[in-house]
């Protein structure tokens, strides 16, 4: 080794040692933030949106109508959904963050609110709270019970099928678990795959099965305790869920782990697969000429003594506590909560979205009406795995569920790993 490189390596080593001492110098402290009081700063309000081009028609109309009122200007900044979801913590902790954001209700919002990053929106709730279903109130609160979220709408999940395919296969939508399994066997017997899912690029879709099985077997109370870390994944209750999951595994497409969501939707639309557990957001990806043939049924009952719970993921808006235009922000969100704005937002979502404001007037198509009735008749409404557990918990859930699908015989190890990974994220993040 030459002298020059030795010296260089020594320098590198001491640099690394020096940095170790620097630990903590990064701005990682969560200093308390106070909302600005007094008059607003000038300039437009920035609305950071994750809506795709297909969805943003309603948002554009809403913003245009608000701007026309002359109370202030709002500018929409559209970011691709995945980037938006990953970057939201950086936006909110930035020195001069955008003012208003599209986001999800429940734990996803609470995570930020409890770090004192969100603006108190109780005043918006005072004006419009009575128009929202009471279940949305707790979903819009931080841990201390303060409203920090304005809901705009929600949607439903169901087991989707094509009516004509079910007719050909001689199937009527099942109500109970036994009927469900019998139907799956009957469908498989006719050479059609009963279930699929696009797990190769959307592994989180497996959590829909886990959520529903847990809701039907153990109920929503246990489910939410499990997801918030108060129950364990290697508990007897979760084992019962996995045992039920194992009963349906033989009816899944054997290539389910290598199937993309696009492929799964096209298999489903072409009748190669009979049923698909999906959220309403997937409806527009069914070809136009098959839309009227599309139907869904409620996830079947497993234990009749368990109160029926449904997934009704709720979307809405949050605002940064650091906004320098708190008055305009509240005025804008007041408008967002109004029946007119919520009608506009839902109208552009092709019948896959129910407005949160009960006074919003929207002509519901048959599927939306069925979804609304299903959610209203449910005793409890949950959000979805990542929204109830916190987004960081999705990865260990994906790992556990996809490896269970490939190797159900490794159940013990899988549940143990899931529990450990979930606890670790709770401890380290």
């Amino acid at each position: 080794m030459t002298r020059k490189t030795t010296r260089w390596l020594t320098a590198l080593g001491s640099a690394i040692a020096a940095t170790a001492l620097l630990a903590g110098c990064v701005s990682t402290s969560g200093e308390a933030q106070q909302a600005k009081s007094g008059p607003d700063a000038s300039g437009p309000l920035i609305l950071q949106s994750r809506f795709t081009d297909a969805e943003k028609g309603g948002l554009d109309k809403l913003v245009k109508d608000f701007n026309a009122k002359g109370e202030g200007q709002v500018k929409v900044n559209t970011i691709p959904t995945t980037t938006f979801n990953q970057q939201l913590p950086s936006y909110l902790t930035a020195k001069n963050p955008p003012d208003v954001y599209t986001w999800y209700a429940g734990q996803a919002t609470r995570d930020f609110a409890d770090q004192n990053l969100l603006l108190d929106l109780s005043s918006v709730w005072k004006d419009h709270g009575s128009d929202f279903p009471s279940s949305l109130k707790s979903l819009s609160q931080d841990s201390s019970g303060k409203q920090v979220f304005v809901p705009t709408g929600y949607y439903w999940w169901g087991v989707y099928y094509f009516k004509s395919d079910f007719q050909k296969l001689g199937i009527t939508p099942p109500k109970t678990w036994d009927e469900f399994l019998a139907d799956a066997a009957k469908i498989k017997g006719q050479g059609v795959t009963p279930f699929t899912a696009g797990l190769s690029d959307n592994a989180w879709l497996a959590s829909a099965w886990f959520d529903y099985l847990d809701l039907r077997i153990n109920g929503a109370d246990f489910h939410l305790k499990l997801l918030s870390g108060k129950e364990k994944y290697d508990s007897p209750q979760v084992r019962k869920v996995m045992a039920a999951f194992k009963q349906v595994l033989p009816y899944f497409d054997p290539a389910v782990l290598g199937t993309t969501q696009n492929q799964a939707m096209s298999d489903f639309s072409q009748g190669k697969v009979a049923m698909y557990l999906l959220g309403a957001w997937a409806q527009p990806s069914v070809p136009a000429d098959k839309q009227s043939d599309l139907g869904f049924f409620q996830f079947p009952t497993i234990d009749p003594s368990v109160p029926v719970a449904e997934e009704g993921p709720t979307d809405g808006f949050i605002a940064s506590v650091k906004t320098d235009k708190p008055n305009l922000t509240k005025k804008f969100l007041d408008y967002v909560a109004s029946p007119q704005a919520q009608t506009d937002l839902a109208a552009s979502q092709q019948g896959t979205y129910l407005p949160a404001n009960s006074k919003a007037s929207l002509n519901l198509d048959a599927l939306s009406k069925q979804g609304k009735d299903m959610l209203q008749s449910a005793k409890q409404v949950t959000q979805f795995y990542n929204r109830d557990a916190g987004d960081a918990q999705q990865t260990p859930a994906d790992t556990a569920l996809t490896s269970f699908i490939a190797h159900p015989e490794n159940l013990d190890q899988i549940l143990k790993d899931w529990d450990a990974a979930s606890a670790k994220i709770r401890a380290t993040s």
């Binding site: 969560g30 199937t259 790992t399 490939a406």
Partner: protein
Amino acid sequence: MFALVLVPFLVEAVGVFWPAFQGISLSFLHWNGIGPATPVGVKNYVDLFSDPIFLTALKNTAIWIVLFGGISFAAGLGVALLFQSERRGVGIYRTALFLPIVFSLVVTALIWGAFFQPNGVLNNVLDAVGLHSWTHVWLGDSSTALYAVIVAALWREIGYVMVLFIAGLKALDPAVQEAARVDGATAWQRFWHVTMPQLRSVNLVVLSVLIIDSLRSFDIVWAMTRGGPYHSTELLSTYMFSTAFGSHALGYASAIAVVIFVLAIAVIVSYLVRALSEEKEA
């Protein structure tokens, strides 16, 4: 003279050194990006070695360097030797091999994703030639997914390595080859004892490029499998990304980043030191 160095140094310092230092100091913390961070000393590093996913990622990265790096080197050199001489139509072959470079890695991933689909090209061809039992859910099976992704990455890298080697081979003096031929050296002797020693500086570049490319491989894995199914194709880079931006464990992710950094530096420095001292002796 000093001022001339100062300007690029300052740019480097703000753009490279400072973020790097921050990354290293983050690795001694628990931090979710929004709340207050807690210092945990070396716990993140200790935890790494009892984390089965990290160990899988480390093993996969080693497999990746050996297979991706090794095959790219050997195949790149092979096709470069084959296509170095100017014959009619050789340009078509060179272009064909170089073409994959012009696609972005994400596009490459889409093409190969379609190829490896359960009902994609590969399985259809296997079916057609009566090898149904060989068909596989290539990207969805933990025993084949990593190798399927390596094939896609190789498809792109070989053409690149070939170009580097062709450039190196063109610079060699043909008289040396001729002299060896006249002296009765066989083709293998001419390659091993005449061509290879002259290519030493090119080899150095190619190896450095391959190791750096291996360690920073991310996009093709992310686009094809996202590290799945159940972490079986996870590389250090993809695991770092999903830990940081999926699990919001920024301290732990920084510890993984530091491991990648140390690996890259160690490999490159040791190689450079050896190569430079050899050069001095020669």
